[in-house]
């Protein structure tokens, strides 16, 4: 039995009579999508928090949605993505008086998964950088307190881990801030989720970071980038992933010749630490410039089968 199982982080766009669309607008499209990733041997799916209710409506319940996944060859939803915000007062992560609301939000998200075996909340633990700056130790401690509290609840009540994922444009983006955050969070309740491209774009070596946080690591997003961020790119409001002027597309599937992430080296490292569990494949924004999710996903799995799995599987 392999140590690694692969999950697919959903950002899928597909062709429809109305142009590009997310599959989740129509059950037939969802089937068309899920069968494709199933054909590539993915066994898990990662979704967004807002998809929990969407799929529950489409299939009658979230449990029915998971049954649909199983009927088409997948095992389950492994994780769902969520984020910290600083837009509205009631959910501002930096305001301790809002933490009760955020706690209840995450409680509702987890309850919505209906005990179907979801393992992770893939969390951007700080708002976007321009909403955080200046980022201070005090702010990091507020975030650490928040996610300690939420993580204890999600794990003890639902068996779901808070796993933190550090976008290159989020408030916890450089190595110093990231390490402080893990120092000040409880290792029982707050885990690390390594996104290869996001760290490389931010100028952080994801492998060195993994070596420092391997005992906190509960998951991976494997994706690549062809660009390192310019010195101010991460501060671009409102969305640095889409609006940096000279980089129209940040993310690419693993295995492209221009890629900057060293995946074979990462796999050597994962092997040495004996990681067992899910690894998620991601290539958000693959549609930019005429890209194609089916092709990107197939090429990513080709790279896993023919390169990475020969190192560790």
């Amino acid at each position: 039995m392999n140590a690694i199982k692969y999950s697919y982080m959903d950002h899928w766009f597909m062709h429809s009579p109305q142009g590009l669309t997310k599959p989740g607008v129509r059950r037939e499209f969802v089937e068309y999508y899920i069968r494709q990733i199933s054909a590539l041997s993915f066994k898990g799916l990662d979704i967004f928090f807002f998809d929990i209710q969407k799929y529950a409506r489409m299939f009658g319940s979230f449990r029915n949605f998971v049954k649909f996944l199983q009927d088409n060859g997948l095992e389950k939803v492994v994780g769902f993505f969520a984020s910290a915000y600083a837009d509205a007062k009631s959910t501002n992560a930096f305001l301790p008086e809002s933490h009760d609301n955020i706690y209840r939000q995450f409680e509702q998200y987890c309850a919505g998964t209906e005990d179907t075996g979801v393992e992770n909340i893939i969390l951007m633990p700080a708002p976007t950088y321009y909403q955080c700056e200046p980022m201070t130790d005090e702010k990091i401690r507020i975030l650490a307190d928040l996610w300690n509290r939420v993580g204890e609840m999600t794990l003890n009540k639902f068996g779901i881990k808070i796993t933190c994922h550090h976008e290159f444009w989020c408030g916890l983006r450089d190595e110093d801030a990231i390490l402080k955050f893990y120092e000040w969070t409880d290792p029982r309740y707050v885990f690390f989720f390594l996104d290869t491209a996001q760290h490389v774009i931010a100028g952080v070596d994801p492998i060195k970071l993994y070596m420092k946080l391997h005992d906190r690591t509960a998951g991976f997003h494997l994706k690549d980038t062809h660009s390192i961020a310019g010195p101010e790119d991460y501060r671009t409001p409102p969305d640095a992933e889409l609006m940096v002027e000279d980089v129209p597309r940040w993310f690419y599937e693993i295995g492209t010749p221009e890629g900057l992430c060293d995946f074979p080296r990462l796999y050597q490292c994962i092997k040495e630490y004996g990681y067992k569990g899910w690894i998620s494949i991601e290539h958000d924004k693959a549609e930019i410039g005429g890209g194609n999710f089916s092709e990107s996903t197939a090429n990513a799995m080709w790279y896993i089968t023919n390169v990475l799995s020969k190192i560790y599987k």
């Binding site: 597909m14 062709h15 037939e28 089937e31 068309y32 069968r35 494709q36 990733i37 199933s38 054909a39 590539l40 088409n72 060859g73 010749p257 005429g290 194609n292 089916s294 092709e295 996903t297 197939a298 090429n299 799995m301 080709w302 089968t305 023919n306």
Partner: protein, 320 residues
């Protein structure tokens, strides 16, 4: 006895997705990742058909050995299965606007043209070349037994040449082809040498004109050397293949404005007309030992079609 699954590149027909080497590499890897171990190429002409001719492959990949190595080592594809050759297609490199297999005066040109493909295929250990046995129906009209027999004679000559390389010629009848009836196929099979000329059964094309691929296979089991799988949702009930320039119907939809004629296998909500499970049962029962090539021509998203077809093979057809 075993079935091997391959994929045709006929859906990648736009210069954006079929010309550059790096684009084709992504296509090959998509096909490989989906579990297909062989590929079928389409004969083409001109500088925009890099995989359409051995001469063009030479520019990009090298000779047959080099291309074979590229497929195996660089993109993890085991086998170039065949080319699909249409003698009626323009070939600027051969100074022809297309040749007619029903015209004996053009047989030598067809033998000469196909020999380049046969030699290349022999060098990569392929076993056959797929050919369109006659021109489009409207070009041959009136379609007569004599014309079909002359076409059969052409393929006997090509088959004899191919046999010297250890290959067979497989006749692939399509919707628009002049031999698009059981009676025409019967004549072709009767008039060709079973030792050198066989049959390729294309499910979607044959279903389009009311020929049952299962019955055809059961009738010509020993002659069948290849299957091409694709589905259809409607058939050409108006016999629009008979009108001049009928090929335009594929894109303009004909009188009924059909947006897309050919589909992937296994759509639940809008099931197609081909009984793939039944055909697979017949194939298993017949002890077929060879390739099945899946096609998705007319797909707006060829990569998606590869994966969707793969799911159906893994979860339905391989369990028959």
């Amino acid at each position: 006895m075993s079935v091997k699954w391959g994929y045709s590149l006929n859906a990648w027909d736009h210069e954006e997705n079929s010309v550059r080497k790096d684009r084709n590499e992504r296509t090959f890897k998509t096909i490989s990742a989906a579990g297909f171990t062989g590929v079928e190429l389409i004969v083409g002409s001109g500088r925009w058909c890099p995989l359409g001719r051995p001469g063009n492959i030479k520019y990009i990949y090298g000779d047959a050995d080099d291309f074979n190595r590229y497929l195996k080592k660089t993109v993890a594809i085991d086998q170039l299965i065949t080319w699909d050759y249409d003698p009626g297609a323009i070939a600027v490199e051969e100074d022809t606007l297309g040749r007619d297999p029903s015209d004996p005066a053009q047989h030598d040109g067809i033998v000469e043209a196909t020999e380049k493909y046969v030699a290349f295929l022999a060098a990569v250990d392929s076993k056959f070349l797929v050919v369109r046995p006659m021109l489009s129906w409207w070009k041959v009209d009136p379609v007569t037994e004599e014309k079909i027999k002359k076409a059969a004679d052409c393929w006997n000559k090509v088959g004899k040449m191919a046999s010297s390389y250890g290959l067979k010629i497989l006749l692939r009848v399509d919707w628009m082809c002049a031999a698009n009836s059981m009676s025409a196929i019967d004549i072709l099979m009767a008039e060709t040498d079973p030792a050198t000329v066989g049959l390729c059964i294309n499910t979607g094309e044959l279903t389009m004109v009311g020929i049952d691929p299962i019955a055809l296979y059961q009738k010509y089991m020993p002659r069948t050397g290849l299957f091409q799988f694709k589905d259809v949702r409607v058939t050409d009930t108006l016999e629009e293949y008979k009108q001049p320039f009928a090929e335009d119907i594929k894109k303009n939809g004909g009188k009924r404005k059909i947006d897309r004629w050919f589909w992937e296998m296994g759509h639940n909500e809008k099931p197609g007309l081909v009984d793939f499970a039944g055909l697979m049962r017949a194939i298993r029962a017949g002890g077929y030992d060879g390739w099945i090539v899946v096609e998705s021509d007319q797909s707006p998203d060829p990569a998606a079609s590869v994966l969707y077809n793969s799911w159906y093979i893994q979860n339905v057809l391989n369990k028959v």
